[in-house]
Structure formats: structure tokens, C-alpha cells
């Protein structure tokens, strides 16, 4: 090896300084053995603090660099040769911070993809390549005991979310979950969640529509609307309750909430409305009485009440 830079570490905290040494072997420097070793950091060029001749005839220069202000810098060890600057070795210097603890970790059980999808806030940029891993273990009760090995879920590049497939889940048992961030300067851990996948199930909204007018079905009273809804099919096995909201299409009218509504209803008559007025209607449902998460509001259904 012609020239070799050695560093205590290639990653330091921003603002820290670092001492480097460069050794140039005799067979490399065609110059007299007294050639001066020069250091180049970014665009700054200069000698080291100390240069000495080692027993084997090679030259060693040592330098204490100024506090690093940029996340990335190139340090070169050079020699002057026939009035050109010769680069003999180069080292990449990274500077940043240990990762902050990720926060706002939250998870939802998605019955469409049949996976538990967790997301988090990565925290401030620490300027260093940082790996995030969603870690989880099967447990009981309030996750004090670890029932089997920790599962690692590695997110797609740069994403702050990860999804744990069904085969790694016990839907009705507690599991401990946290996010670990790791870079060259350390590790950051989010607070640990303890949850049961089915208790964070988020349903798709129900389908809401008006039954087609037919002889058997009496038309709605004035100021009333006839409604029908159907639960999202993949969630039929889950007991749920629902909520309806309606808003007349009149200027700045606000929503009126109606609920809880039983999820299994063939026909519902909504009354107390203004006659011959167009209403926007939406519905959402939630697992109940067991815990769950509200679905989004269904797409709007627009119906107009009969004249007085």
C-alpha cells in the first residue's frame, strides 16, 4: 500500500473533532524520504501537526481536524510530486447525531391486506444513514412477558411504516411493538406499545343507499328519508355499531349525528328533516362491543325529502 489513512472512527458527532494519521511507505514516494505529507479536507490543504519517520523508513503524518460542520467530508492524504499534488489515500468522514427515539407509533389491523400496519414519526434528521426496524413479540396481558422471539419488520427504503403479515400475528393475543432506529453513533427506541391486533381493526365503511321505490315499500313520510345499508362484507363476522350523519345542502349547514345504529338493519326511516330538501348522508361503523377503530365515513349519498 502506497499511502494509508487511519482514523479512530469514520463517523463522529457534528462539531466533534477527530485525529487522523497517514503513513506513506518508502517504495511509494519516489522523492527523497523527507517529502512533506499534505492533508486535504474538502478544499482546505495543509500539512499535519507532526510528521515523523518510522523504523521501516515510511513517513507518518498526524493531524487533528477542526470540528466537523458538514455531514459528509472527504479527507485526502497527499504528496507534492513534480509540482503536482498526488492523492495517495482518501477517507470519507461522516458527521451527525445518534438517532432520536422514533415517536407517535400507531398501528391498525387491515382486514383487506390481512396485515398489521404500523407507522411512526422518525424524528429530526440526524444526517447519518439510519436504519429503522419495527420490532414485535407475542405476549399476554399487558406485554410484560415475551412468549417467543422478536420479529423484525424492515420498512421499504425511506418509509416510516411497516406491515406485519397475517402469518406472524395472533389476532386475539397481546403483542409488544416498538420501533428501533440505528446509525453509526447509536440507537433510539420508541416507547413500547402493547396491543391486540383485532382491537385495532379498522373496518372499511358500510355501503349506504336508498331502497328502490317499490309497491311493497310505502314511500317515506314528508320530512323523512328511507335508507338501507350493508356492512363491509369481509367484516360480517364482527359485531359492530354504526353512526349516520346528515347535512342539508343549504349554505353552511353543519352535520347532525344519528347513532348508535344497529349494524343489522334492513330498512331505516330517518325523520325530522326539512321537506323537499337535498341531504348529504354518510355512515361509519366500528367493532363493538369489543374494541376497534372507527371506519372512515362512507362516500356521500344525496337524497331529497318529499314535498310537504
Amino acid at each position: 500500500e502506497c499511502g494509508h489513512i487511519s482514523l479512530p472512527a469514520s463517523t463522529v458527532r457534528l462539531g466533534d473533532s477527530i485525529t487522523a494519521s497517514c503513513t506513506i511507505s518508502p517504495n511509494c514516494s519516489h522523492l527523497g524520504s523527507e517529502a512533506q505529507i499534505l492533508w486535504k479536507l474538502g478544499t482546505e490543504l495543509g500539512p499535519g501537526e507532526r510528521q515523523r519517520r518510522l523504523a521501516d523508513g515510511s513517513q507518518e503524518s498526524t493531524i487533528t481536524l477542526p470540528p466537523l460542520q458538514h455531514p459528509r467530508a472527504l479527507l485526502s492524504c497527499c504528496l507534492r510530486w513534480e509540482n503536482t499534488l498526488q492523492i495517495l489515500d482518501q477517507a470519507e468522514l461522516w458527521a451527525g447525531y445518534p438517532p432520536a427515539a422514533p415517536h407517535n407509533l400507531s398501528c391498525l389491523m387491515n382486514l383487506t391486506t390481512n396485515s398489521l400496519i404500523c407507522q411512526w414519526e422518525p424524528g429530526p434528521n440526524n444526517h447519518l444513514p439510519t436504519n429503522f426496524t419495527l420490532k414485535s413479540f407475542k405476549s399476554r396481558g399487558n406485554c410484560q412477558t415475551q412468549e417467543d422471539s422478536v420479529l423484525n419488520c424492515v420498512p421499504q427504503d425511506g418509509e416510516s411504516r411497516c406491515s406485519i403479515p397475517r402469518k406472524h400475528l395472533q389476532l386475539y393475543q397481546s403483542m409488544g411493538i416498538w420501533v428501533q432506529a440505528e446509525n453509526a453513533l447509536g440507537t433510539g427506541k420508541s416507547p413500547q406499545l402493547c396491543l391486540v391486533p383485532m382491537d385495532v381493526v379498522k373496518l372499511e365503511p358500510p355501503t349506504l343507499w336508498a331502497p328502490a321505490p317499490s309497491p311493497e315499500v310505502a314511500p317515506p313520510q314528508p320530512g323523512c328519508l328511507l335508507l338501507h345499508w350493508e356492512l363491509w362484507k369481509p367484516s360480517l363476522y364482527i359485531d359492530q355499531k354504526c353512526e349516520l350523519r346528515h347535512q342539508p345542502q343549504l349554505g353552511e349547514a353543519s352535520w347532525t349525528l344519528v347513532g348508535p345504529l344497529l349494524s343489522q338493519t334492513l330498512q331505516y326511516e330517518l325523520c325530522g328533516l326539512l321537506p323537499s330538501t337535498a341531504y348529504t348522508l354518510q355512515m361509519r361503523c366500528i367493532r363493538w362491543p369489543l374494541p376497534g377503530r372507527w371506519s372512515n365515513w362512507s362516500p356521500s349519498l344525496i337524497l331529497t325529502t318529499a314535498q310537504q
Binding site: 399476554r140 395472533q170 389476532l171 393475543q173 360480517l236 364482527i238 362491543p289 369489543l290
Partner: protein, 173 residues
């Protein structure tokens, strides 16, 4: 035997009822696909083969309305689910089209068995030792796995109907 059903936590019973409905839905999906894809729509056409294959059927005698007994019923429910876990595993390789449906069913049956076992442990009713899996029938052809699947799904349906009635009884306030 233990007192009235109320000694079981309501949330446990509600979870079990939900799991019964979930496994019933999975089982129905498997039966429906076996019928559409392989024209195996009637388990009664496969009784003879079932006998030859020796497909075991777990007992739920302590869950029947005539002899309803809480601890016995939970034990039988767990060991029955444990047996179905093994049977569904033995059906692996049933067919590429059915594999995903079979996997979901097996995962849900396993979850249900674990839920019951852990509740029995919490209530100090769990048998001292986890049950060991009985010897499973060997299915030597794709057809036998599909026929076995039709029979197992049909037996599981009846098993779950009895379980559902018993759990609903326990859940009555």
C-alpha cells in the same frame, strides 16, 4: 363443575363468538372453492373414502345442550381445535388455487385454540400438559387432499355450530 356461565369473562366469550364466526366464514370459503374448482360439493359422496382415510372427528359432548359443562366444554373445544389445526396442516399441497384459503383457515383455527388455552391457564383450568397431536391421516394424492379438505371443512362446520351454541349460552348475562 363451575358455577353458572358468568364465571367466564364477557370479553373472552365475545372474542370466542367472533372467532367462531370468523372460522365459519373461512371454512365456508374453503368449501365453496373446493366445489367450484374441483366439483367436490357434497361431503356425503366421500364418506366411504373418509372411512378409509380415517379422518378423526373430535367430541364436544360436554358442550351439547343436554350435558353442558363449562370446564369440560372448554377442554374439548381446545383439543378439538388443536386436532383441526393438525388436520388442516396435513392437507398442505391441496392445490395452488386453494392454498391461500387453507392457510387463513389454519391460522384462524390456531389463534382460536391459543385464545382458549390461555384463558384456561388464566382461570387455572388448563390441563397440566399441552395436548400432543394425534396421528394424522396420510393423503397420498391431490384428490385425497381435496376430498379430505371437503370432509374436514364439513366436520369443522358441525363442530363450530355446537361450539357457537355453547358459547352463546355461556355469554348469556
Amino acid at each position: 363443575p363451575l358455577g353458572p356461565a358468568s364465571s367466564l369473562p364477557q370479553s373472552f366469550l365475545l372474542k370466542c363468538l367472533e372467532q367462531v364466526r370468523k372460522v365459519q366464514a373461512d371454512g365456508a370459503a374453503l368449501q365453496e372453492r373446493l366445489c367450484t374448482t374441483h366439483k367436490l360439493c357434497h361431503p356425503e359422496e366421500l364418506m366411504l373414502l373418509g372411512h378409509a382415510l380415517g379422518i378423526p372427528q373430535p367430541s364436544l359432548s360436554s358442550c351439547s345442550s343436554q350435558a353442558l359443562q363449562l370446564t369440560g366444554c372448554l377442554h374439548q373445544l381446545h383439543s378439538g381445535l388443536f386436532l383441526y389445526q393438525g388436520l388442516l396442516k396435513a392437507l398442505a399441497g391441496i392445490s395452488p388455487e386453494l392454498a391461500p384459503t387453507l392457510d387463513v383457515l389454519q391460522l384462524d383455527v390456531t389463534d382460536f385454540a391459543i385464545n382458549i388455552w390461555q384463558q384456561m391457564e388464566d382461570l387455572g383450568m388448563a390441563p397440566a400438559v399441552q395436548p400432543t397431536q394425534a396421528t394424522m391421516p396420510t393423503f397420498t394424492s391431490a384428490f385425497q387432499r381435496r376430498a379430505g379438505g371437503t370432509l374436514v371443512a364439513s366436520n369443522l362446520r358441525s363442530f363450530l355450530e355446537v361450539a357457537h351454541r355453547a358459547l352463546r349460552h355461556f355469554a348469556k348475562p
